[in-house]
């Protein structure tokens, strides 16, 4: 039990490697929980990139090679940033409004539901048992990314070319707890989603009244507390993908239109790196979010050098993080392709109707379509603001469109089984984008002249 609890909580310690995020603007003015979440997001990405670089260089992971440089660097940078920030005036904290109480209650209910569903084996992802956990065990054992495992002839089911964030975080848990606790590892799905809530809430609160931000982020959390077990995604890479993609979109949308001062865009870039490092599907999610953000910039009137700078930043930083993994693959002979059942472009419209039916059926997301319905309704009501919401609308629609076209490629006899097996899981990031977009869609119009 103690070992399992330690394994469950171990990922949170990775926030130590992302401390500077808590003292960077605008996160330095967030709630303590929101600042911790930003440090967690940043720490997980920094940890993944650093361990991948070490493995690429053939340096074994250890306290000296991992904790010392990452922890020391993080702490030093955090101290530098903290000294630049003027001391905060002592305040009485946030008022305990009804919305705040409801937020805490939602957090408790959602967390309890997720943890219980996972611990009682009602949400287990087979991929966790098939390869995420296997990779973590092997990586932790040899103190590095095990290229020989990934290059084995009978390892194609492991998706050898998947980026390493998830097994590295599990490997960290193994180091901290002494073993992989299979049952408690399932419950880490709750950790990823719980970590997202205060950060999403504070990013929303940059544009929304605090109570509204609290309720919208609570809705996001409850929606995923239901959707993750329904998608049998405890233990797999979907919960971190949802965290990173939702935070990236929220950070992009948090800047008021036309105002970049104190922007959380840097946090979006880090979260987008997390999206890319989590799994291959993250490339599509990343591309859609980045495309939405850039389209928003263009439609918002940005041109020339300013547009180029924004395009460069949203491209270079996340792709450089992914580059650490691609370099490892190239230098260590890890297969860079994934075995797919379908040939791209060989699609048939003859079963488009069946696909549409199965498609709709599997948007239930464990909530009887409530999560999707509310998000779509709020965005629809605010349709005049669609340009501002492109970083959310493009990934939400784009992921669904991608899935729809993907299913048109299906040639077997069990379309319903295939869609029910994949869609609840793969559409989670789209749901996150839709809810975050809906929350910002309802943001009050900026007042003028301040």
């Amino acid at each position: 039990m103690a070992e399992g609890t330690l394994f469950f909580l171990a990922p949170l310690a990775l926030s130590l490697f992302g401390l500077p995020a808590a003292w960077a603007s605008p996160v330095d003015r967030f709630s303590p929980a929101g600042r911790f979440s930003a440090a967690f997001v940043t720490g997980v990405v920094a940890f993944t990139v650093w361990l991948t670089i070490l493995s690429t260089a053939g340096i074994r992971w250890s306290a000296v090679s991992v904790v010392l440089p990452l922890g020391g660097g993080s702490l030093a940078l955090a101290v530098v940033l903290a000294r630049r920030v003027p001391p905060r005036s002592p305040g009485g904290g946030e008022p305990r409004t009804l919305a705040w109480i409801l937020g805490v209650a939602s957090f408790a209910i959602g967390s309890g539901h997720l943890a219980l569903a996972a611990l009682t084996s009602r949400a287990t992802s087979m991929d966790y048992l098939y390869f995420w956990g296997v990779k973590a065990l092997r990586f932790a054992r040899i103190g590095g990314i095990d290229a020989s495992l990934l290059a084995e002839p009978f390892a194609s089911h492991m998706h050898s070319n998947y980026p390493p964030l998830v097994p590295l975080v599990y490997g960290w848990g193994i180091e901290v707890a002494g073993a992989l606790s299979w049952q408690f590892g399932l419950a880490t799905c709750a950790i990823w989603l719980m970590a997202a809530v205060p950060l999403l809430r504070d990013l929303l609160a940059m544009r929304l009244p605090p109570d509204e931000a609290t309720m919208a982020s609570s809705f996001w959390f409850l929606a995923f507390a239901l959707a993750v077990p329904a998608a049998y995604s405890a233990g797999n890479a979907e919960p971190p993908l949802v965290l990173f993609s939702s935070v990236a979109i929220a950070a992009l949308l948090s800047a008021a239109p036309g105002r970049e001062g104190g922007s959380a865009r840097w946090l979006a870039l880090i979260a987008l790196a997390g999206v890319l490092l989590t799994k291959n599907e993250g490339v599509i999610v990343y591309a859609l979010i980045a495309a939405g953000a850039l389209a928003g910039d263009v439609l918002g009137g940005l041109r020339g050098a300013q547009l180029s700078r924004r395009a460069a930043s949203i491209t270079i930083f996340p792709l450089a993080a992914l580059g650490s993994w691609l370099l490892f693959e190239v230098l260590h002979g890890v297969p860079m392709h994934d075995v797919t059942r379908e040939q791209a472009g060989e699609l048939s419209l003859s079963h488009a109707g069946s696909v549409a039916v199965e498609f709709f059926r599997n948007l239930d997301a464990g909530s009887g379509w409530i999560a999707w319905a509310l998000a779509v309704a709020v965005i629809a009501v605010s349709w005049r603001r669609w340009r501002l919401l492109l970083p959310a609308i493009v990934p939400a629609l784009g992921i669904l469109l991608f899935l729809f076209v993907y299913y048109l490629h299906y040639r077997g006899e069990s379309l319903g089984v295939w869609v029910s097996w994949t869609m609840p899981r793969v559409s989670l990031s789209a749901l996150g984008a839709a809810i975050v977009g809906a929350a910002f869609a309802s943001a009050p119009e900026p007042s003028s002249g301040t």
């Binding site: 605008p26 904290g93 084996s121 009978f154 605090p210 309720m215 239901l226």
Partner: protein
């Protein structure tokens, strides 16, 4: 929280009726989702609702029994097999067998697995493994000696190879 008092002018307007309506929408959504969580647990028979799981596969819907009990079988076999040995897994049909092989890589970490099937494809390497793990004791490998009959399968020894 300080951020709510940003001087960027984005929240200067009084929330008014529109703000009330928005809060009501999110509040109603949260209530509805909370009710769905309640319904999720209400649907489960009380005796089974919070009973601890024996394995990660206990209650995964739609899973075949062979895969479901396979996880426990592999942990039982782990205590029987010597470290460093080679093993293969035999099941009642290729997909369940492959599923057990995948999971064995998570459980039998001190041994070397050699699949007999990979998906629907038969794999020759499985024939070279010393130990044969037969799910639910569904067959007796020719020329092998029974090492131990476990709750959810049998372990057979084909001798040094």
């Amino acid at each position: 929280m300080d951020v709510t008092t940003e001087k960027d002018g984005t929240r200067g307007a009084s929330p008014g009726r529109a703000g009330e309506a928005r809060r009501l929408v999110w509040f109603a959504g949260c209530v509805a989702l909370t009710a769905m969580i309640g319904a999720y647990w209400w649907r489960i028979p009380a005796a089974d609702r919070f009973r601890a799981a024996v394995s990660p596969l206990d209650r995964v819907a739609g899973m075949n029994t062979e895969t479901r009990v396979g996880w426990q079988f592999l942990w039982q076999a782990r205590d029987v097999l010597p470290a460093g040995a080679t093993y293969t897994i035999v099941g009642s049909e290729p997909h369940a067998e492959t599923s057990l092989y995948f999971m064995s890589l998570a459980v039998l970490t001190e041994l070397r697995g050699m699949p007999s099937h990979y998906g629907e494809l038969p794999v020759e390497q499985g024939g070279a493994a010393r130990y044969v793990l037969v799910s639910r004791c569904s067959l007796e490998p020719p020329g092998a000696t029974l090492v131990q009959r476990l709750d959810d399968g049998c372990v057979w020894d084909r001798g040094a190879r």
